[in-house]
């Protein structure tokens, strides 16, 4: 309901950008393997040059796919504070090489996953996940339900990022000024209400 909430975290995990680039057309399993492999390399190789290389490659690929690099950079803004904290901490504790490695590999992993998410429509990702989970059928679990749960979860993240802001607006609108801490409980209550409405919508659409 809180639709006015234009959530800052809206684009944090990335959303699909329609296109026809090679990456858009590449089969999901291949893309996923490439991205996952690259992430593993970046995270296990404790070398900032590897991370920098991966980051540069990802940026180049994003540009080649017409994803608008500027929008990407903007969407990484919520990471800024974290990057500063991490840099400061590792500079002092472990020296510049380690600091560069930590920060660059963080950015590389985030952008790599965003590359996958931006070039694959969410339903395709879910299809892939459902396929991956299909052995679970043997254990009596319906993989379609897992897919549904994951897509609902991804849909809920931006809403949750907006909820505190919209509650602050709500309080401001009636000229009361609760302490931010006082808004935490209403925020969780609103979250449960949101979950209820989602549940009703699921039931009403026969998606059980």
């Amino acid at each position: 309901m809180r639709r006015r909430a234009r959530p800052r975290g809206d684009d944090l995990l990335g959303t699909y950008v329609p296109g026809t680039s090679p990456l858009h057309r590449c089969p999901l399993w291949l893309k996923a393997l490439l991205v996952l492999g690259a992430c593993l390399v970046v995270m296990t190789a404790r070398d900032w040059r590897v991370s920098l290389g991966a980051l540069a490659l990802t940026a180049a690929a994003a540009a080649a796919c017409g994803l608008g690099v500027r929008r990407w950079v903007r969407s990484l803004r919520p990471l800024l504070l974290l990057v500063i904290l991490l840099t400061a901490y590792h500079l002092v504790a472990n020296g510049p090489a380690r600091a560069a490695d930590v920060v660059l590999s963080l950015l590389a992993v985030v952008t790599l996953t965003r590359l996958l998410i931006s070039t694959t429509p969410l339903p395709r990702l879910i299809d892939g996940l459902v396929l991956l989970c299909s052995p679970l059928r043997l254990a009596g679990v319906d993989p379609e339900r897992i897919g549904l749960a994951v897509s609902l979860m991804i849909r809920s993240v931006p809403w949750l990022f907006g909820v505190l802001t919209s509650l602050r607006d709500a309080a401001a609108a009636r000229t009361v000024r609760p302490h931010p801490v006082q808004l935490v409980t209403p925020a969780v209550i609103a979250t449960v209400d949101y979950a209820h409405r989602t549940g009703e919508a699921l039931a009403a659409r026969g998606l059980e």
Partner: protein, 244 residues
């Protein structure tokens, strides 16, 4: 056009009681009805029980006593079956749209029925085209206007091709122009429709009108007479009340 198929939406002596903070609250009491008209409108004051009545038919609310039938199905016992017959549209479309973009949302509805992925996308686009929304297919639902969102919610429900449409105040958030557009769209649909509304123009377009008051279905009949009575009661007090 295919011959319109009608289901009977039937209640016999239905009472719904819920736990309130100071003991039980009766939300519906002794409701008897059988809605078979092509379009039935339910009108009544705030909190009279309209939404609760509508929710009975797809098992979102279960009766404390009495019998409910959607077609031949008991929705309390077989909610899935009832929900496959009945598509439910909420007042607030934002809480009904489950996916980030309209296309994905309609594909979600089609998942069960259409296994092939390309085919699914094709059909979802066809639904969006039918409602004039194809150029919004990949927009974030946050960026749609209220009217567009209501249409997407409706498309997602229509995509599962239910026999009956139940709509809870479908026009309240809409402007005059979108209200007219939605009316036209509903007029063109083959499905039987049951709706609750405070929009008396929309209610007047129904074939049958039921009035709910203080948890009871107090009267039903042809729209002209019922809406006249309802207006009169709103202004001069309902039966058994002194004037407001």
């Amino acid at each position: 056009m295919e011959p319109p198929h009608r289901e009977s939406l039937y209640c016999a002596d239905v009472t719904v009681t819920v736990e309130g903070p100071r003991g039980p609250v009766t939300v519906l009491e002794g409701v008897d009805c059988e809605f078979t008209a092509r379009r039935t409108a339910v009108v009544g004051l705030n909190g009279s029980g309209k939404s609760t009545l509508l929710r009975l038919f797809n098992g979102l609310v279960t009766p404390s006593s009495g019998v409910v039938r959607t077609g031949n199905v008991d929705p309390a016992a077989f909610p899935r079956h009832a929900r496959s017959l009945v598509g439910f549209v909420f007042t607030d479309p934002a809480s009904q749209i489950l996916m980030p973009t309209p296309l994905e949302d309609i594909e979600l509805s089609l998942r069960r029925g259409v296994r092939d992925r390309a085919e699914r996308t094709e059909q979802a686009m066809a639904w969006l085209r039918r409602l004039g929304l194809e150029d919004r297919a990949h927009h974030s639902v946050f960026d749609l206007s209220g009217g567009e969102r209501q249409l997407v919610a409706l498309a997602a429900v229509l995509a599962v091709e239910p026999r009956v449409l139940v709509l809870d105040e479908p026009t309240t958030l809409l402007d005059l122009r979108n209200r007219l557009r939605l009316r036209q769209l509903l007029d063109g649909l083959p499905q039987q429709q049951l709706l609750s509304t405070h929009d008396l123009d929309l209610a007047a377009s129904a074939d049958h009108v039921a009035v709910v008051h203080e948890a009871r279905l107090i009267d039903q009949g042809p729209p002209e007479r019922m809406l006249h009575l309802y207006r009169h009661w709103c202004e001069n007090g309902f039966p058994g009340e002194t004037a407001a």
